[in-house]
């Protein structure tokens, strides 16, 4: 990873200029400008004399360095490495020469096909939507290098092959490193019908740890990786904002006299979301904000707390909602069932709580602006900033840096914190670049939580213990309402995804939904609706299995005969966990299986109780994500997603009192720590299916797997999360 160098303070620079300047300063290299059309059909022009850049994703310079431009945000999930692997594979690059930089904002070049062409990182879609596109990008560059060598050696293209970073003519033992060919290759016509490798010839895709190590690992062990928090522009001021204590409140008046008296405080300005204190550095701004007096107008504030919200949901669960699925007649089947099961599951608000609290740097000039940020939705954020400044979107240059986590939070559909940074820059008329920094408390209190939810469940079994009816009512806030993903009729499939389409075969299935109005902002959180639907479905299946007197794995198998991939991960996880084999006294296993983002994951948790609280000793995970690009990253994502979901299930709960978030830091919003991390063993299903995502799908099954282990251990179901 290249160190993020900050140059040209005096004027707004384009991303390309910026990169060029960085490289010149960093390594004395020159880079080319983009010279090709979006489809690569035009000859490449390289006025700086040297680099081959056949498309928007790869650039090779005369030193042989391969620079991959990532259209997806690296927030820990390994996307820089995965995308670069696709290109390096088909380019036949030497992995040691590959670096990755974040793309700017451009839907036409960097759109995500799973998001309708919007440039965005989310929905575990990076590899899935880039699989063919990036391999083609690499293969195209390779074909041009081979063509250049063929012209130079006056040999037919068909006689040439490549080894990592080198074009080879085996018969005459001639070898040309890529760097020596790029100048000539850049004059070639960009081919459009380049064949891709036969998977049996893959050097990188699917290979084990050490072959394509993470491109960002080195910079992340020596402190040199640059996050938004680390961006420093000449003359930059740090801004902290006093926000309203309750959702929906506004500033009535404020007194900045004491704040302005703090040494290092430069300015205090009112903005739509509060009062911003600008300091020469963080601590000055912090002391300034502490010294500020703000009177809030709470006439429009939301004043309910989590107990009242859950009571509202419980009331709603008693009345019919909007119909989603209705196979057969679940009510009648339950009325005549030999045995019935009922449950209500309640889920709390959850914060993303990324390690890097939200922040954004905005440098406003007379008629342009630059934003330095880790954007999951760069074009959306750019449009929001451009609107505030009254600029055309192209006048706002987005510089993408590393993200210290996110888990969905930096994909805010309203660009909340980015907009706040821009309004501060506007309020000081761009007299200095502004770095907005939210403290941990600011970050958590801003909301945009995984919504609190309630699932009411009813099920029926016949006399043989076979399931005959499933009835489910989902109650909670829509995440999509008011966003670019909202549907005109208000329906929001993300509220019931993973439940309405649950795979368990039975003749009568009913699901309806209530979209509740609540004044707490909500947003997608690692695995979106699956965070609660997987729990409701998988816990209820175990409750039904218990009522039927059946083994939970065997009970699921009978209902999954038409879902072979799901059945296969269920069986693999059960087998690898030793399902059914004896355990030490006081320990039990629980299993859950769930599909999200087209990836199938089954997890078996081995659990005991220590002082009344669950202790998870071991988790066995089986995953089917189609073709695997990087098995070690798949494992790391499963390990991490299990830790993330386990922490939430054990401890995660945002408490709101009278419209005010009270659990705003890690002392009151407990997350998983080292001691609570179980041994996680990940087993990857071999597959030739197209690749699907791995960032999120490991999260949904862990909560219900633990709950089902507790059910086996204690006989008691878990009806309210978190466990502790």
């Amino acid at each position: 990873m290249k160190r993020f160098l900050l140059v040209t303070p005096g004027s707004a620079v384009s991303r390309r200029d910026f990169v060029r300047a960085s490289l010149v300063i960093g390594g004395g290299l020159m880079v080319s400008v983009y010279g090709c059309g979006p489809n690569g059909e035009e000859p490449v022009v390289t006025p700086t004399g040297g680099a081959l850049e056949p498309n928007a994703f790869v650039r090779i310079d005369t030193s042989g360095s391969v620079v991959v431009t990532s259209k997806h945000l690296e927030m820990g999930q390994g996307t820089y490495t995965g995308l670069a692997t696709l290109i390096a594979e088909e380019l036949d690059a030497d992995w040691k020469t590959v670096t990755v930089e974040g793309a700017g904002a451009d839907d036409a070049k960097y759109g995500n096909t799973t998001l309708g062409g919007l440039q965005g990182t989310g929905g575990s879609s990076a590899i899935a939507n880039s699989w063919t596109q990036h391999r083609t990008a690499g293969a195209t560059a390779r074909a041009m290098l081979i063509a250049a060598a063929a012209a130079q050696w006056k040999l037919p293209v068909s006689e040439l092959t490549t080894e990592p970073g080198v074009v080879v003519h085996a018969a005459t033992n001639r070898r040309a490193p890529y760097g020596t060919l790029v100048t000539a290759a850049a004059t070639m016509r960009v081919p459009t019908d380049v064949p891709l490798k036969d998977p049996k010839n893959f050097r990188y895709i699917g290979k084990e740890k050490g072959v394509t190590p993470r491109v960002d690992a080195q910079a992340k062990v020596n402190g040199s990786a640059t996050f938004t928090q680390d961006v420093k522009l000449p003359g930059m001021l740090t801004a902290l904002v006093a926000h309203a204590p309750r959702f929906g409140a506004t500033v009535r008046t404020f007194d900045a006299v004491r704040a302005k008296a703090v040494p290092g405080v430069v300015d205090v300005v009112q903005i739509p979301t509060g009062v911003a204190v600008l300091g020469q550095h963080f601590w000055a701004a912090k002391l300034g904000r502490d010294a500020l007096t703000v009177e809030w107008d709470e006439s429009t504030a939301y004043t309910l707390g989590t107990p009242e919200i859950m009571a509202q949901f419980r009331d709603a669960a008693l009345t019919p909602g909007r119909g989603v699925r209705n196979d057969g007649n679940a009510d009648a089947a339950i009325a005549s069932a030999a045995k019935t099961v009922e449950a209500i599951y309640e889920f709390p608000y959850l914060a993303h709580a990324s390690m890097e609290p939200l922040n954004c740097v905005v440098d406003l000039k007379a008629d342009t602006a630059a934003v330095y940020n880790a954007n999951q939705f760069p074009t959306t954020d750019r449009a929001a900033v451009a609107k505030i400044f009254g600029f055309a979107p192209e006048k706002v240059i987005m510089h993408t840096v590393m993200s210290g986590g996110s888990f969905g939070r930096r994909a805010n559909p309203k660009s909340d914190y980015v907009v706040e940074a821009a309004t501060i820059a506007k309020a000081i008329a761009g007299k200095a670049p502004v770095k907005l920094v939210w403290t941990r408390e600011d970050d958590t209190a801003a909301g945009y939580f995984r919504p609190a939810m309630l699932h009411r469940m009813r099920g029926g079994l016949d006399a043989s213990g076979a399931p005959v009816a499933w009835w489910q009512r989902v109650v909670g806030q829509s995440m999509m309402e008011g966003t670019m993903f909202a549907s005109p009729d208000g329906a929001d499939a993300s509220v019931f995804e993973g439940a309405s389409d649950h795979p368990y075969a039975m003749p009568n299935v009913f699901l309806d939904v209530h979209y509740e109005k609540v004044g707490v902002p909500v947003q997608w959180w690692r695995s979106v609706g699956h965070t609660h639907t997987a729990f409701a479905v998988e816990m209820f299946v175990d409750e039904m299995a218990k009522a039927a007197g059946r083994d939970p794995v065997e009970f699921r198998r009978t209902m999954l005969v038409k879902d072979p991939r799901r059945l296969a991960v269920l069986n693999l996880a059960a087998e690898m966990a030793g399902w059914g084999s004896p355990l030490p006294a006081g320990r039990a296993r629980g299993i859950a299986v769930h599909k999200s983002f087209d990836t199938y994951v089954a997890e078996v948790a081995e659990v005991s109780l220590v002082n009344g609280a669950p202790r998870v000793h071991r988790v066995t995970c089986a995953v089917d994500c189609g073709i695997v690009v990087n098995p070690d990253i798949v494992r790391s994502q499963m390990e991490g997603a299990i830790a993330f979901g386990l922490g939430a299930a054990l401890y995660g709960r945002i408490d709101i009192e009278q419209g005010r978030v009270v659990s705003t830091n890690f002392d009151r919003y407990r997350v998983l720590r080292q001691r609570e991390m179980p041994q996680v063993d990940v087993h990857i299903m071999p597959s030739t299916e197209k690749p699907t995502g791995v960032g999120e799908p490991g999260t949904p099954p862990i909560g219900p797997a633990v709950a089902n282990a507790l059910l086996a251990l204690t006989g008691k179901p878990t009806r309210v999360l978190p466990f502790v």
Binding site: E74, G78, G223, P357, E639, A643, D667, Q674
Partner: protein
């Protein structure tokens, strides 16, 4: 003007004595490897060493540093070759990486006082460092590996 020693270099810093060492390092000296995560010594992202002892720099005022020498992630090695850094790369620990400077500084301090820590000792020493990406299993493995590397070089 206070004078402190950071990574072996004497530094004169113009900052209020109440300023947390974290912000002196990041905003005054310009060493940004040490991270801000919570501000209340709950997450460990800001961990640095004072005379080899791990401290939370977000709650350590500049005035408390005195003559003790400060070591940050940047001072661990010139070329990322400290055993813990090498083990971290070998085990492919980092995901987002934001907490890892703090994790590594805590791990280095642990290995400096306990050459061959058990899992339980690792858990205790690392309990104050949060990783939201959930790299804990690899951290445990990397600490064992770094201990092995240090023993081999001893």
């Amino acid at each position: 003007m206070a004078s402190i020693t950071v990574n072996g270099e004497a530094r004169d810093v113009a900052a209020d004595p109440s300023t947390p060492l974290l912000w002196v390092l990041r905003d005054v000296i310009g060493l940004t490897g040490t991270k801000f995560g919570c501000g209340i010594a709950q997450c460990g992202a800001c961990t640095v060493h004072l005379d080899g002892v791990p401290v939370r720099s977000c709650t350590t005022p500049l005035s408390a540093v005195g003559a003790r020498t400060v070591t940050t992630i940047e001072g661990l090695s010139a070329d990322s070759t400290h055993a813990v850094q090498q083990a971290w790369v070998e085990a492919q620990v980092p995901q987002c990486g934001y907490c890892q400077s703090g994790q590594i500084m805590s791990a280095v301090a642990l290995l400096d006082r306990t050459a061959s820590p058990t899992d339980a000792e690792i858990d205790t020493a690392m309990q104050g460092n949060i990783c939201r990406c959930g790299t804990y299993q690899r951290i445990r493995a990397a600490i064992h590996r770094a201990a092995e590397m240090k023993r081999a070089n001893a």
